[in-house]
Amino acid sequence: MRKVLILGGSFVAALGTGALAYWQLRPEPPPPVTVEQKYEDIKRAEYEKWMQDLGYTE
């Protein structure tokens, strides 16, 4: 019984260590979308109008 507890505890500890390692080493989440990044999200139709106005397409 004691050995089972030790083995089980070791297994849980190993899992916890692995989870902690992944949490700390995982890639950084993308930064929150800013007003400037939304500048890129102009809808394509509006983008085409913008290009038309400046003489870049018919």
């Binding site: 030790i6 190993a14 400037e36 890129e40 102009i42 870049y56 018919e58």
Partner: protein, 312 residues
């Protein structure tokens, strides 16, 4: 005591696991430090500024003193609303021979937008001399809009020297990507048509990206020679040839709308696309004439699009 070997085994396993975990973390930090961008001065040699008394450019009117170069002192003495513009011009003036000094001048600009534009201008000026340094300047600009504009400017600056690299810069131009592709491929076409045609023939991206590529070739060549531009548009993909001739009409109309209209008649069956290009260009300076021109277009679909654009 009877379970001592087992206990030791468990402890050893834990030690291995913990060592592995912290070792991986240290390795990741080390890798991140190795691939971090080099300091801005790496691999770059600034040309020294001209010493005092060096020959200055002479003004065209033959005036005695010639054109005075801008200085920090001169900009500092200007009125507040002009000072920033002066600093931007000063930075641009010295960017090619002393980019770090030029960037320091940019940092003196009070307005954020103008300061960021200044940095983009410095990168554009540096690009033909040291493209790696120019890239670092662009990548260091925090605002997405000006970072994109910076790479756009690099593309234009290098279109003649290295068309492939220049066109590749457009992938970093953020929101200006298609504008960049249009203008850079146009500049490339002026130097040699084949690389431009090869690039647009790849038919990359969506419909807008594809047709504006050919539009750039037509527009830029037409600014130089209508017939040359028309011949180039003959090589465009069938679906986008009309848009190419729109560019021809626009580009040629910048010099002479009347002559362009007369020449549009020679590019059958794309004369209406050409005339539409002229009409669109006229919207800026003579919208009434542009509307009248739209109404004279024979092809109904082109006429409708023309009028929608002129009247909005």
């Amino acid at each position: 005591m009877r379970s001592l070997p087992f206990t030791l085994l468990v402890v050893a396993c834990m030690a291995v696991l913990l060592g592995l975990r912290f070792g991986l973390e240290s390795f990741a930090v080390h890798v991140a430090a190795v691939v971090a961008p080099a300091a801005s001065s790496d691999g770059f040699m600034a040309l020294p500024p001209k010493p005092d008394g060096a020959e200055r450019p002479v003004s065209e009117d033959g005036g005695g003193a010639g054109v005075a170069l801008l200085t920090l002192e001169a900009c500092g003495a200007m009125a507040k609303d002009v000072k920033d513009v002066c600093l931007q011009a000063l930075a641009r003036q010295s960017a090619a021979r002393d980019p770090q000094g030029a960037l320091q001048v940019c940092e003196r600009i009070a307005g954020t937008e103008l300061m960021l534009e200044c940095e983009a201008d410095v990168a554009e000026a540096v690009a033909p001399i040291d493209r790696a340094a120019a890239e670092r300047i662009c990548d260091g600009i925090p605002a997405v809009k000006w970072r994109g504009q910076c790479h756009f400017g690099m593309g234009l600056a290098l279109a003649e020297l290295d068309p492939v690299y220049a066109l590749g810069r457009c992938e970093h131009a953020e929101a200006f990507r298609d504008f960049c592709r249009h203008d850079v491929v146009g500049e490339v076409a002026l130097e040699g048509l084949e690389p431009a045609v090869t690039f647009c023939s790849r038919e990359e991206g969506d419909e807008l990206t594809r047709k504006t590529c050919w539009h750039g070739i037509g527009k830029y060549l037409a600014r130089r020679d209508f017939k040359e531009a028309a011949a180039a548009c003959g090589r465009a993909t069938d679906a986008w040839r009309g848009n190419c001739f729109h560019g021809v009409g626009w580009g040629a109309a910048e010099r002479d709308p009347d002559a362009t209209l007369a020449t549009c008649a020679t590019v059958t069956p794309y004369e209406d696309n050409c005339r539409q290009g002229v009409a669109h260009q006229l919207k800026r300076f003579d919208p009434a004439r542009g509307v009248a021109l739209c109404e004279s277009i024979a092809t109904s679909t082109i006429r409708e699009r023309c009028l929608v654009f002129l009247k909005r």
